[in-house]
Symmetry: C2
């Protein structure tokens, strides 16, 4: 009986620091995940991959501003849908192989995620997206398009949008039907296309859903065994930047919540990941893993092999002895 893992890939998995985002760069970066995906598939894991889309949606937003006199700009959530197509295709082509039975079928599903129309985030948009503008231009766009704008780190003004909490994954049933066939599914790219319920319809809204929170919602909806939050560091660090800084290879949800309460994990980085991990395990998931791409496979083995490095596993009750807490 195969188990199911939902893997969330960091936003810079495809366009790295200092890269502009050509198709060739993104394809090469995607290859790095391919080996891990094949190893997991060979070890009887059904897989769902969730990718970030920050750089890609920023590029589309910039392009449509430059051409706004000639082509009507589409709403942000529609740009998000475009990046799901773009990155979904790119990942599919990077992972598929022709005529190899040991390599899984891969399919990318356009995914919508509901948010509450009265989510408090809508009253306080904070997530910057798209290009920088000077102050006059930003104020004009705010007037003409109803945007919220804010100064960003002294580098100019940007549009800011709400980051509401994900509720339901609209396409969960379809995704389940696909993984039940052993097909690797690319889904909920960029955290999903945000929609609110309006009478009997789903209506797109301009917002950005945290990808790790969306991955947790999807993993919980699919009753997945594992949620893997792939990032650029091998393990969660405690007392980061202080004397006694140390990596952890296992945390119980109680320990993780205590560390969250103690302010161990900043909101901009590890906080949402640890919170998503805790929520997944509290809702019945077996294990949540936070780690870098090369440690994903080892971190999902039930029994750690001596001397083999793993990432941070968040579990319901202590499983492994002799690990740093």
């Amino acid at each position: 009986m195969p188990r199911t893992a939902v893997l969330a890939l960091g936003g810079n998995a495809l366009i790295r620091e200092g890269q502009s985002g050509t198709y060739a760069e993104q394809t090469e970066n995607a290859q790095r995940m391919a080996e891990t995906v094949r190893w997991l598939h060979a070890n009887d894991w059904n897989l769902v991959l969730i990718h970030g889309n920050g750089p890609q949606v920023g590029n589309l937003a910039l392009q449509q501003e430059e051409a706004s006199a000639r082509v009507p700009p589409q709403p942000l959530f529609s740009l998000g849908a475009m990046t799901q197509g773009q990155i979904g295709s790119l990942l599919t082509l990077a992972l598929r192989r022709i005529g190899k039975d040991d390599i899984p079928d891969v399919v990318s599903v356009i995914t919508h995620v509901t948010v509450a129309a009265d989510d408090p985030a809508f009253a306080d948009p904070t997530k910057p997206i798209g290009p920088f503008f000077d102050r006059d231009e930003a104020e004009r766009l705010a007037r003409e398009r109803g945007w919220h704008v804010a100064e960003d780190a002294g580098r100019g003004y940007r549009r800011v949008v709400p980051s509401p909490r994900p509720r339901d994954i609209v396409e969960a049933r379809a995704i389940k039907a696909l993984i039940d066939q052993g097909i690797v599914v690319v889904a909920a790219g960029g955290g999903g296309i945000p929609v609110v319920e309006d009478a009997d319809r789903y209506v797109g809204v301009d917002a950005v859903i945290d990808k790790d929170y969306a991955a947790q919602q999807l993993a919980t909806a699919l009753r997945a065994d594992a949620l893997v939050l792939v990032t650029s560091v091998d393990r969660v660090l405690l007392d980061f930047g202080r004397p006694g800084q140390r990596p952890v290879t296992e945390l119980t949800v109680d320990e993780a919540e205590r560390h969250l309460d103690d302010g161990q994990f900043p909101e901009g980085s590890m906080g949402p990941k640890v919170r998503a991990a805790v929520r997944f395990v509290r809702h019945g998931g077996h294990v949540a893993v936070i780690t870098s791409p090369h440690l994903v496979a080892a971190s999902l083995e039930d029994t750690p092999r001596p001397g083999v490095e793993t990432g941070t596993r968040i579990v319901a009750a202590p499983e492994r002895v002799g690990v740093s807490r």
Copy 2:
């Protein structure tokens, strides 16, 4: 036992003549198909929808040219993938309803279609895409990017790309798994993202696949019962523009081929549709229909109701008497 129909929607189904393509316009146009989809679902048809993407991919190509100094342009096939995300999301939101059991689940699948690397179309690119350029600019782009350019109807120069024949639908197995669950699938938008086989990999190529041919390939791969080519006219006309011009409500494949040989159907309009219809029936499909949106439902009824208009049905052998041939 539900039957399966593949519906190909015309390229102007979402952005009509004279419209610029705002999100609101496209959503409103999509509503027109929603009623037909619901009727077919209620009458025990499993459905796959294929949409055009001409205006949308043209808009993206124009946007990325305007911003090419700041954002690296993506290849044409990647723009096609973006429009699958964009239009797939839009159609999903137009068709879905919340909490209504009688209205089907809908999901949009990013779809790749293989073409032969030695397809003769690659030696003779003829399909214009994207914005118009003046001659100097067109020649510069041809040099810098390896584009083929051609004058288009005296209105300027455009990029031209090959239009190769579709072979395999890469995601056919996933699409089958979804329709077997009664889920309406949006797939192969714009004719699919064209890929060639390169050793054991699929590699994207800049080309445009005819949407009606792609729909036929997918319908044949799914062993669908019906292929429906939705267009702006109610029925195929014989002797178009000549004395004796007449609509036909039924054609056998033999009759249709004879008319094709006689040059009854121009390549730019009805020719590919009739050819796709013939190929579908020759490969075992029960019926191919060419008609406008409001006649789709009536055209798929096994027994025509007296006095009820239908489109043109292409079948293996004569089924209905008293129809014009």
